[in-house]
Amino acid sequence: MLSKITVSPAPHISQKLSTQRVMGDVIIGLLPAMAAAIWFFRLQAALVILTCVTACMASEWICGVIRKKENSLWDLSAVVAGLILAFSLPPAIPLWAAVIGSAFAIVICKMLFGGLGANIFNPAMAARAFLTASFGMLMTTWTVPATVDSAMPHISATNTATVTQATPLAWAKSAIKGKAEVTEANGLLKNTFWGNVGGCLGETSSLALLIGGVYLLIRRTITFHIPAAVLIAAGVFAAVFYFVNPDKYSDPLLHLFGGGMLICAFFIATDPVTAPLSIKGMWIFGAGAGALIMLIRLAGEYPEGVMYAILIMNAVTPLIDRACKLVPAGGKPHVQ
């Protein structure tokens, strides 16, 4: 007759969706940005991306072996973490530093907390913060995209041999000091949209990120709440300053398209693991992140605040989740 039947609790069917598939969609969403990175920064970019992804996967595998756990490599979350980390590194980063960052991301920030789903902080951002704290110089050396005409103004040859270019945000920041530079920074807007500027690997091309973001939205891998909250909060924040004093603050569009804002809104703040669960929580989380990014950019010491804003919001996510605890459909029971 028939082979042994199986038994398990209901429900006995499930949607055709898996963690692997979710992560795979994110990877697909990141492909345009990867293409842009490789186009603008050539071999350097390819090497950094390859290194980060390989190192992240290797770290994940080793941790799995040590903990004698089911091999978690193929849920692909390590690949996504590696990609995001690579995309948030400057092109000229030495590969050994990329390896240290990957190991920090996966081992310290993810596996020690219990692996996928248990980490409190976004591994890629935490690793970037660690690298920034450790190797500040390396993390602030911005090579010029291969496509840039070297006669552009904000290119300088410093004491070292590398030709570097200030990022749009760095210009916006120093621009607070003078009107001429503000205009110049604003002139960067078009290039910023296409990606023809200095910056981290994955952040330069707004267009590529938008394509990827829309893909994720269509696939319903992410919902619109977090990106919308981030962009609206940051946009409003920047616009208020701009309209109060356009001579001193750059165009809000530069803030929306410049730096890590878009990759943050679509790929980083949306990391489900480190964001709140409920819709209300997502709005709070996103708005908090957007506002913090702008606060750090405008009032803090750094030109860019994405990484710190995300880490800070990650830290308060458990509190947000608690504050947004759902009420059951029938209201709170009288006696529990």
């Binding site: 450790s134 500040g136 110089m137 602030t140 300088s156 410093t158 004491n159 120093s174 010491e301």
Partner: protein, 210 residues
């Protein structure tokens, strides 16, 4: 116990706490004596440190003495900082330069500097860091003796200094090139100079020291 309580509170108090009181007196004495014994050394340490730093800047100077009255410098936020300028003299007692302690807020915390100038208070002889809490690997590069940052001040004019991010650190002028990655600290040092140098020069002129 309850008997004591009601009958003679003072006796009760003494019974309970005589040990504490005796030890308090003893420990108080002990500390006072130790302090008396070591305080001069502690004060000397501070003087030595100042002298070592200032002496490193004004190589001919053999000693430093207080000169004039202490000068109150406005450091903003409605606060003032009182500076005691010291006169550096060589073995023969001739004036070789001036040195004083000043402070400003850096990246993490306050930075205390020893600043020295030539005898005419026209040119800087440089600065040394008395205390700073800047990030290791970033801001703490200002403490590197004769590092590229400190060297820029050797011989710079006593005027409003200016910080730039890109530039030539070799030429000695009022343009100071920031330490890459530690603009804040670099700026704090420059700002400290700008806050203190000219007011002190003015005050010294008033006091007739220059």
């Amino acid at each position: 116990m309850s008997n004591n309580e009601t009958k003679n509170p003072i006796l009760f108090f003494m019974q309970e706490s005589w040990l504490l009181l005796v030890s308090a007196i003893l420990f108080g004495c002990l500390l006072a004596c130790l302090s008396a014994a070591w305080q001069p050394k502690i004060i000397q340490n501070e003087i030595d440190k100042f002298n070592a730093l200032a002496g490193g800047l004004l190589s001919e100077a053999k000693g430093f003495q207080n000169a004039g009255e202490s000068i109150s410098v406005d450091i903003g936020k409605g606060k003032t900082y009182s500076v005691r300028v010291k006169k550096g003299t060589d073995a023969a007692g001739n004036l070789v330069g001036w040195a004083f302690v000043c402070e400003g807020s850096g990246f993490a915390d306050k930075i205390k500097l020893v600043v020295a100038t030539d005898a005419a208070f026209e040119k800087l002889a440089g600065f040394g860091v008395l205390s700073s809490n800047e990030t290791p690997g970033f801001g703490d590069k200002i403490t590197i003796k004769d590092g590229f940052y400190q060297s820029q001040f050797k011989g710079a004019p006593v005027t409003e200094l200016e910080l730039t991010k890109v530039g030539d650190a070799e030429t000695i002028d009022s343009r100071i090139v920031a330490i890459s990655g530690a603009t804040v600290t670099s700026e704090a040092v420059v700002k400290t100079f700008n806050t203190f140098l000219l007011p002190i020069k003015e005050a010294m002129a008033e006091q007739g020291l220059l």
